[in-house]
């Protein structure tokens, strides 16, 4: 089956004060339709940068030195920034770890979701608001009216994260890149958000690139897993297979850290 997103031979360098070093080297990654792929590694290892590079949102200090990112037969690294703007949010969406800073503090949640619908889907204001309400319901928020009218700081972490997911799936993207979406949340909330991801995968035919440092999360939700260590991919394949029998030392370390 051809892949939806294909990253081949990607290398990213980073400038550290005055010296340059390689952050990621020869990365190969595939995301297929209706698939949840987990990208695992330790903090600072480059996982977030990999996610950002897909959307060409890397900070100036980082440069893509080689490689291709093919999405629907287009190399994203060769696409103009104007076309990238079209793709961002509409075809590939991203959700971040810190839900509080991902939202504008002076607008309420409902308006921010409606804004995405108005600009990308061309909906009227009225219709966009209705759809925002429907999306909030889709992400299993109970009191839609209250949440839609609330400001980001007035909501709990779990609710905000769901709202961020609602905003990301608003225009039905093909892929959502989720960067450590549950790291700041309690275990119980974390479990529910992961269950939500699974539901969206089947209901909306959504593919998710889930970036995390926690293998427990991977076991529960991912179809395939890619393990990143020291800037290289050390293991990749079917999640169940790898977690039951990890071959690489780093993967084994991560497994040990998540046992109870």
């Amino acid at each position: 089956m051809p892949s939806l997103l294909n990253i081949s031979n990607l290398s990213i360098s980073v400038q550290d004060n005055s010296s340059t070093r390689m952050l990621l080297e020869n990365i190969h990654l595939d995301v297929h339709k209706d698939e949840i792929v987990a990208l695992v590694g330790s903090s600072g290892g480059g996982k977030t940068s990999l996610g950002l590079s897909i959307l060409r949102l890397l900070p100036e200090a980082m440069q893509i030195t080689e490689g291709k990112i093919i999405f629907r037969d287009k190399d994203l690294l060769q696409t103009s920034l104007r076309d990238m703007q079209d793709i961002r949010g509409k075809d590939i969406a991203m959700i971040f770890q810190d839900s509080l800073s991902a939202f504008n503090p002076v607008f309420c949640i409902g308006d921010q979701i409606a804004e995405v619908l108005q600009s990308h889907a061309g909906l009227s204001r009225q219709r966009a608001r209705e759809r925002a309400g429907e999306l909030l319901d889709l992400v299993e928020i109970k009191d839609v009216k209250r949440v839609a009218g609330a400001y980001p700081h007035q909501l709990s972490g779990g609710l905000r994260q769901r709202a961020m997911i609602a905003q990301a799936i608003a225009v039905s993207p093909a892929i959502v890149i989720a960067d450590e979406p549950t790291s700041n949340l309690d275990v119980t909330i974390q479990a529910k958000i992961l269950a939500l991801f699974k539901k969206l995968q089947t209901q909306m035919h959504l593919s998710i690139l889930l970036i995390t440092h926690d293998l427990g999360v991977v076991r529960f939700v991912a179809d395939r897993v890619v393990v990143l260590s020291q800037g290289r991919i050390v293991e990749s394949g079917n999640a169940r297979v790898i977690l039951d029998a990890p071959t690489n030392d780093f993967t084994k370390q991560l497994m040990a850290a998540t046992q109870i």
Binding site: S42, S43, A191, H213, D214, L254, A257, I260
Partner: protein, 287 residues
């Protein structure tokens, strides 16, 4: 003698105030909690965000004043102490906070950070220097970092510095408020290893607060579970992990183990009438 004893602590916050200052709603952050910690028997307190555990920890440290109830440290009531006694107390009971990025003042060098808790110990310059070196060695950090600043270190390293700072005053009790929650799993393991070795070496008792049972089980032979301001279950670690009796504990355990969570727990309105009853030796459940 018990190291820390919390008796029926209550703390209520008003949720919204009308224009004239009258409160329109009350949040019962801590609603009658009683706990005790024996020396060398660390206690883990588990509960979701918003259940009141941080408020409880702060009342135990005497940072917030409780609305009612008492806190005793080694038999002494900590609420109304003279200045000298309070200084003495602060060296016996210390806290490590959740956010390693904010719990160290970015403008202080590591030396300054480690020196602050030693202010009341009246040590000579030489003794201070030696002590700082010992502390850094104990937490697994190199000696030459004293002149550096917090922003030069990673989250895990900063948390080690925070632990070194907490140990500087030779405390008997260390309260860890979600101390590893914002760290990466591998680093979490390292810090838990460190805490385990420090427990042996310095004979410290931990009061470990977290939302994750997985984190608490390593260091704490006794575990308490908190929900909506009340303790719902309390007992030895093995019993809680293998045979949790209260619905909420079961929920936390399945979330931590397998990321499975049952449906919503409805709010328990009749909390007031419930008491902790001893089901087996040392195992209490709220019902």
């Amino acid at each position: 003698m018990k190291l820390l004893e919390i008796q029926d602590l209550k703390k209520y916050f008003s949720t919204s105030k009308s224009f004239l200052g009258k409160s329109e709603g009350i949040t019962r952050a801590v609603d009658g909690v009683s706990l005790s910690i024996e020396p060398e028997e660390s206690l883990g307190l588990v509960g979701e965000s918003g259940c009141g555990k941080t408020t409880l920890a702060r009342m135990a440290m005497n940072i917030i004043a409780p609305d009612s109830g008492n806190v005793f440290f080694e038999g002494q009531d900590i609420c109304c102490l003279s200045k000298e006694k309070r200084h003495a107390l602060s060296s016996l009971m210390q806290m490590v906070f959740q956010d390693p990025f904010n719990s160290l003042d970015p403008r202080f060098s590591i030396r300054g950070i480690l020196k602050e808790p030693m202010l009341f110990l009246s040590l000579s310059r030489y003794e201070e220097q030696k002590k700082m070196e010992e502390l850094l060695c104990a937490v697994g950090l190199p000696q030459n970092i004293l002149e550096r600043f917090p922003h030069e270190f990673s989250g895990g390293e900063r948390q080690r510095i925070a632990i070194a700072r907490a140990l500087a005053a030779n405390p008997k009790l260390l309260i860890l408020d979600e101390a590893v929650s914002s760290l990466d799993v591998l680093v979490q393991e390292q810090i838990l290893d460190l805490l385990s070795s420090l427990k042996e070496r310095f004979q410290i008792t931990y009061f470990f607060i977290s939302h994750n049972l997985r984190v608490v089980r390593r260091l704490c032979p006794k575990i308490a579970v908190m929900y909506q301001g009340r303790i719902v279950e309390l007992g030895p670690r093995e019993v809680i992990l293998t045979n949790p009796l209260h619905r909420y504990t079961q929920r936390l355990l399945s979330a931590a183990l397998s990321y499975q969570v049952q449906d919503e727990m409805s709010e328990c309105h009749v909390f007031d009438k419930r008491q902790l009853r001893e089901k087996q030796k040392g195992h209490f459940v709220l019902e």
